[in-house]
């Protein structure tokens, strides 16, 4: 179930392909801007799929087009064999958990949950409503009105109200955005549990990269109306293809370098006098200038002259400009000879004390953890709070 499709357009034929959600060339233009640009996407049946991106990247517009709440400018949406591009929202086997839940304030919880079934003419909804309320652990609250419930409870009602219809695809529009951090973490696990239990396709829209990585089988990172990269969370994190993905999913050190060329299954890069190597399958640029990328927790650090544990490519001549102790790790800022500050996160194993500010240090990383990106991209793309 967690196999990420190799390509964005065609998934390998599988038995359950009949209910995949396929978006082809999906475009939404408004008077002044294009929200979604020719999006191609396949969400295999039964997957927990996340659309991740900053606000305004087009992820919610994409979701609303799938729900039928926005009409695409061009392109198509298929669910299995049926074309639902222009189908009315109430004729699609798709349900949505809205960002602010959109519970009906004049109906009690049980009636909110039964709403979809009743509209489809299901006669006896009592049993199903009871089961669904049990699933989201709200059985005792069945006769309360939405306004009398906490945010977390309302969120669960919204989920139950959508799930009871057993849609082929469940759309979640930042469903945890209004909850506080602790509740959000709890609900993430809960959502994942429910998805595994009911086995439906979930398409989850979020701007929270940690949330996407925690829950999703596959993440599509969106930026400016297009998908920057799509794959399993580990794949996106370990081998980003663009500076945007490298910065938006976690943090990255991006060092300018000259690509010397391919040497076997390695690509050699000259970085500020030293030569570093990157595995060919992690090199997304082959010649000219490039950004050599390395995640902060993959960078090893030691006082100059002291041995580095399990070293790879070594760069010397740095000094510590800032130290933050965050419990599980220590985060260093290291100023390199060429003026750039690198982030280094060291696991707090207790093997060595903290290096104080001003310490002269060497840094190193295993070549297999490095990645190489095209230098034409903005090294600051996707940095949050920018």
């Amino acid at each position: 179930m967690s196999n990420a499709p190799e390509s964005t357009v065609s998934a390998p034929p599988r038995a359950e392909a009949a209910h995949d959600l396929r978006l082809q060339g999906l475009t939404k233009e408004y008077a002044t801007f294009t929200a979604v640009k020719a999006l191609d996407l396949v969400v295999p049946q039964g997957q927990f799929f996340a659309l991740l991106g900053p606000s305004g990247c087009g992820k919610t517009t994409t979701l609303r087009m799938v729900a039928g709440l926005e009409t695409p400018t061009s392109g198509s949406i298929h669910l299995g064999d049926s074309d639902i591009t222009y189908e009315k929202p109430y004729k699609r086997p798709v349900n949505t958990v809205f960002q602010n839940y959109a519970l009906f304030p004049h109906l009690d919880i049980a009636k909110n949950v039964a709403f979809g079934l009743e509209r489809r003419g299901v006669k006896n909804t009592k049993q199903q409503v009871a089961e669904m309320l049990e699933l989201v652990e709200l059985t005792s609250q069945a006769h309360k009105k939405p306004a009398q419930m906490s945010g977390g409870q309302q969120q669960r009602v919204a989920l139950a109200r959508a799930l009871i219809n057993q849609p082929e695809v469940l759309l979640l529009d930042e469903p945890l955005g209004a909850l506080d951090l602790k509740l959000r973490r709890g609900m993430q696990l809960e959502l994942k549990r429910i998805q595994t239990e009911v086995g439906l396709t979930f398409v989850h829209v979020t701007h929270d990269q940690e949330e996407a990585m925690t829950m999703a089988d596959t993440i599509a990172v969106m930026n400016g109306g297009v998908i920057e990269q799509m794959g399993a969370p580990t794949e996106l994190y370990e081998n980003p293809r663009t500076t945007f993905v490298a910065n938006f999913l976690g943090q990255s050190n991006l060092i300018a370098g000259d690509i010397e060329g391919r040497d076997g299954d390695q690509v050699k890069v000259r970085v500020q006098g030293a030569v570093a190597s990157v595995p060919a399958d992690r090199a997304h640029a082959e010649s000219g200038q490039g950004w050599l990328g390395i995640r902060p927790e993959k960078v090893l650090i030691a006082e100059t002259g002291h041995p580095i544990d399990a070293p790879g490519d070594v760069i010397t001549g740095g000094f510590v400009t800032d130290v933050s102790f965050v419990g599980v790790s220590t985060q260093y800022q290291v100023r390199m000879p060429w003026g750039q500050e690198l982030m280094v996160f060291e696991q707090n194993t207790g093997a060595r004390g903290m290096l104080p500010v001003g310490t002269k240090v060497d840094v190193s990383w295993r070549p297999e953890f490095a990645f190489l990106l095209d230098a034409s991209q903005d090294a600051m793309a996707g940095i949050e709070g920018d």
């Binding site: 039928g68 709440l69 304030p105 009105k145």
Partner: protein, 275 residues
């Protein structure tokens, strides 16, 4: 010294309460007089404004009511009911159009709606009369012209009231309903209307009392017809018959019951919910 301070403190503690009671007295004394007078047996005296003797006659024998009063009450009720119905339906539709659709002249329409509320009744009444006469209906003044006049001034109040309720409505709710298999019509009847209904009911009650109450505009456009306020005004030249107080008291009691019923219903619901 200390007595002054004590007196001051006592005044400080009780001033708001005292003023509040005075305001209530000021508001309700006239109504209390009306209620009282509805039980006044004035048959032995020519002074109708002095309480003589307690009687239930006016309440128990509507057959003995003054000439024309019963008809005027019925006419007023008919007009109020019809005007409320027409103004509420039209006004609600207009409010939906103004809130939900963008069209040329929308902001102008939003301003113009307030004009009937802002214009003096005498201006509206006389201009309406001119219009009726100019368009050849001068000879047919009566029920229909009164109704048209009442719908005209009720409409603004309905639009403003329903608009306020509708603007506060989260349109995500309608999208959620459509997402949950409700067609456009089902969405309207199951979600939109129930949520806007308190506004519509409020607008209807307001329309009814505005219409039942109106004298100036009605008087100008009534022709030979006599509504209840016109009857009271006319009767007042000779002294108001006691039965007018019966109608006044009845209207007051009905309004109080509507408000109380509404409040009780709300409390009952809240109580049921907190269990």
């Amino acid at each position: 010294m200390s007595t002054v301070r004590t007196a001051r403190r006592w005044l400080g503690d009780h001033l708001v309460l005292g003023l509040g009671i005075l305001v209530l007295v000021y508001t309700f004394v006239p109504i209390a007089v009306v209620v009282l007078m509805s039980f006044n047996d004035s048959s032995k005296s020519r002074n109708v404004y002095k309480f003589q003797k307690f009687t239930l006659d006016h309440w128990l024998h509507p057959g003995g009511w003054a000439d024309g009063m019963g008809d005027s009450v019925i006419l007023s009720l008919e007009i109020a009911a019809a005007a409320t119905l027409v103004a509420t339906v039209l006004g609600t539709l207009a409010a939906f159009a103004l809130v939900r659709h963008r069209f040329a002249g929308r902001s102008a329409a939003n301003v113009i709606i307030f004009l009937p509320m802002a214009s003096p009744e005498i201006v509206m009444g006389s201009s309406l009369l001119s219009l009726f006469v100019a368009s050849g209906f001068g000879g047919q003044l009566g029920f229909w012209t009164i109704l048209i006049a009442h719908v005209m001034f009720c409409l603004s109040f309905v639009i403003v009231t329903v608009k306020a309720r509708l603007s506060g409505l989260n349109d995500n709710l309608e999208q959620a309903a459509m997402d949950l298999y409700a067609t456009e019509a089902q969405t309207f009847w199951r979600v939109t209307l129930p949520l806007v209904l308190p506004g519509i009911v409020g607008a209807a009650l307001l329309s009814f009392s505005l219409s039942f109450d109106d004298f100036i505009i009605t008087n100008l456009n009534a022709g030979q017809s006599v509504t209840f306020p016109m009857f009271v005004y006319g009767a007042n030249q000779r002294g108001v018959p006691m039965e007018v107080n019966v109608i006044g008291t009845a209207m007051f009691v009905i309004s109080i019951l509507v408000v109380l019923g509404n409040e009780l219903n709300r409390r009952r619901q809240e109580k049921a919910l907190t269990l």
